[in-house]
């Protein structure tokens, strides 16, 4: 079938973005004079965008440089989150007793804000970087834990019966049946966890003052350069969107399994 150009798919999103810019402009003109308008934001930030890799001190770098620093931090925290979350999810899914014991703990830990974890991380680790990673990991791992546990619980009995009649060893049952059967759920969890990690990064960098998009945002707020806050906000949004899409592609690859 020939693929036709869908004009609505281009025009409608552009309309949405246009409307957003209009509201932004209106607010900056009428409601909050301190809020830079889109045009002013562009003028004051274009150096960061047009030369995205310049470096002029720790806290004055091109936007992609900051983005890279944040992404590295998120990658570390996220890896830690899934490294702990996946086996934990498996345990919860496999053992109803373990689940009964730990479910209340998880339900209580889950809604705790990163802003609350960070000071605790600082108390435990005495340094900002490990505290930031700890916060990202502990906030981001719950979707992985919960989805993995759900995936393990919903492995078809027919698959498990195959394992039983073939007398597969526990190790083989895990690698040949349980992990492949749970993969789609695990990746849904990973996708949500990555989104969460990206949310947490800003808070973590703000409070620890580490260089990155969140740290830059907080510093520019203190320096009264409000247009750079908007620059950071937009960059965070765009990168978050890109990450989600990327994980979406990976997730779909495993859906067929």
């Amino acid at each position: 079938m020939e693929k036709r150009f869908d004009s609505a798919a281009v025009i409608l999103p552009l309309l949405g973005i246009g409307l957003m810019l209009f509201i932004w402009t209106a607010i900056s003109l009428k409601v909050a004079p301190d809020l830079p308008s889109p045009l002013k934001t562009w003028q004051e930030s274009k150096q960061y965008i047009l030369d995205p890799f310049f470096k002029d001190g720790e806290m004055n770098q091109g936007i992609l440089r900051f983005a890279f620093l944040s992404l590295v931090r998120v990658a570390k925290g996220f890896t830690l989150a899934i490294a702990i979350g996946t086996p934990l999810g498996f345990l919860l899914g496999l053992s109803p007793k373990f689940n009964q014991g730990f479910d209340p703990v998880i339900q209580v830990l889950r809604p705790i804000s990163p802003l609350a974890w960070l000071p605790l991380g600082l108390v435990i680790f005495k340094q900002s970087e490990p505290a930031a990673l700890f916060t990202i990991a502990i906030c981001a791992m719950w979707p992985t834990v919960i989805n993995t546990a759900m995936g393990v619980r919903s492995i078809g009995t027919e698959y498990l019966n195959v394992g039983r009649v073939l007398k597969l060893s526990p190790m083989k049952t895990l690698t040949k049946i349980m992990i492949p059967a749970t993969l789609p759920y695990m990746f849904t969890g990973y996708r949500l966890s990555l989104g969460m990690a990206w949310l947490v990064i800003v808070a973590a960098e703000m409070l620890t003052g580490s260089p990155g998009l969140g740290g830059f945002l907080w510093q520019e707020y203190n320096s009264l350069v409000y247009s750079h806050i908007l620059l950071s906000v937009l960059a965070i949004g765009l990168i978050g969107f890109a990450l989600d899409r990327l994980m979406g592609v990976v997730e779909r690859r495993f859906k067929t399994a």
Binding site: L166, K176, I177
Partner: protein
């Protein structure tokens, strides 16, 4: 002679809020080596329960099952199992699914030899070109062929089949029945198969065990099928004895369908005192309703393919040839 499979005084009950619910009671059956036995009965009568205990997936509450001189205490590689749904692992190719079984019985062979062995079993079920296909790329019939190949790959003494063809369309089902007959003739396996299809049972089995309705289901009648194996489905359909056996089975099922509590006398291997030569349309309707059998199959029989042309292939399978 020691039977290949012996079920004695088998009972299964579950605890329910109303007290223990008895599913199967005092089930006795001896299956000789190389014999093909079908268990037939209404849905929910407990025939699958008996089979799952034989598979080792379910525990007997009383009595037990002895296979090749050993009591069944759990799953074992001495039994090849085929499930109703093929239960292939969708993330493994046909060959890998079979390798899973082969690896269990031949752990010392090199991978190359094991792969050759896997392909041999795929050939045996007529799937030469599909070794690298994944289950979602195969038709239901092909998947069930792989399921059978996986069971055979254990090279078991006993095959346990749980309604293996009930989810297939009529044409595919006939092909697989023929394939199974051929394999059994060649390998001389002992087979215990659960089915709800009267004609399938007559075509494949040496003896047909009819189970009474639950609760506390047990062996109602055992009918011997008087045809030599391997059989030809059109040939036996012409035989008057075919209809005797068939109406005996249907008579039994029909009596149960009406919920009559009167025990049907056990007339093993002596077809048809109760046989009705002609069925009224109302009876036919009941039979269709309760056995899943039907006029369509009848139609097939009336229009046999020309003797020299091969059995029709389903579209997906035709591609492989």
């Amino acid at each position: 002679m020691i039977p290949a499979l012996e079920i004695s005084q088998l009972g299964k009950s579950y605890d329910s809020p109303q007290g223990p619910a008895e599913i199967v009671k005092d089930f006795n059956l001896k299956v000789a080596e190389g014999e093909f036995v079908c268990i037939i009965g209404h849905s929910g009568c407990g025939k699958s329960t008996v089979l799952s205990i034989a598979m080792g997936l379910n525990e007997a509450s009383r009595g037990g099952i002895i296979i090749a001189g050993r009591e069944v205490v759990g799953p074992g590689l001495d039994r090849g199992v085929v499930f109703q749904s093929s239960a292939l692992l969708p993330w493994l190719s046909a060959r890998e699914n079979i390798l899973l079984a082969i690896d269990q019985v031949n752990p010392r062979m090199t991978l190359k030899v094991r792969r050759l062995l896997a392909d041999k079993f795929l050939n045996a079920v007529g799937l030469d070109g599909a070794a690298d296909s994944y289950p979602d790329e195969m038709s239901a019939g092909m998947r069930q062929r792989v399921g059978i190949a996986r069971a055979l790959a254990l090279e078991p003494k006993v095959l346990l089949l749980d309604e293996p063809f009930s989810l297939l369309d009529v044409v595919t089902r006939m092909e697989l029945q023929d394939q199974l007959m051929e394999l059994c003739a060649k390998e001389h396996k002992t087979v215990l198969m659960v089915t709800h299809d009267v004609d399938e049972a007559i075509l494949l089995a040496d003896r047909i065990v009819m189970m009474t309705n639950g609760p506390a289901a047990t062996v109602g009648e055992i009918v011997s099928v008087p045809f030599e194996r391997p059989r030809d489905r059109l040939g036996i359909a012409e035989d008057p004895r075919y209809h005797q056996v068939r109406s005996q089975l249907l008579g039994f099922l029909e009596a149960r369908a009406h919920g009559s509590a009167t025990a049907v006398p056990v007339v093993a291997s002596q077809p048809a005192k109760t046989a009705k030569p002609k069925l009224t349309s109302e009876e036919l309707f009941m039979i269709e309703k309760y056995t899943g059998f039907n006029r369509f199959r009848g139609k097939f029989r009336r229009q046999p393919a020309p003797a020299n042309s091969p059995a029709p292939l389903s579209r997906a399978e035709a591609k492989l040839v």
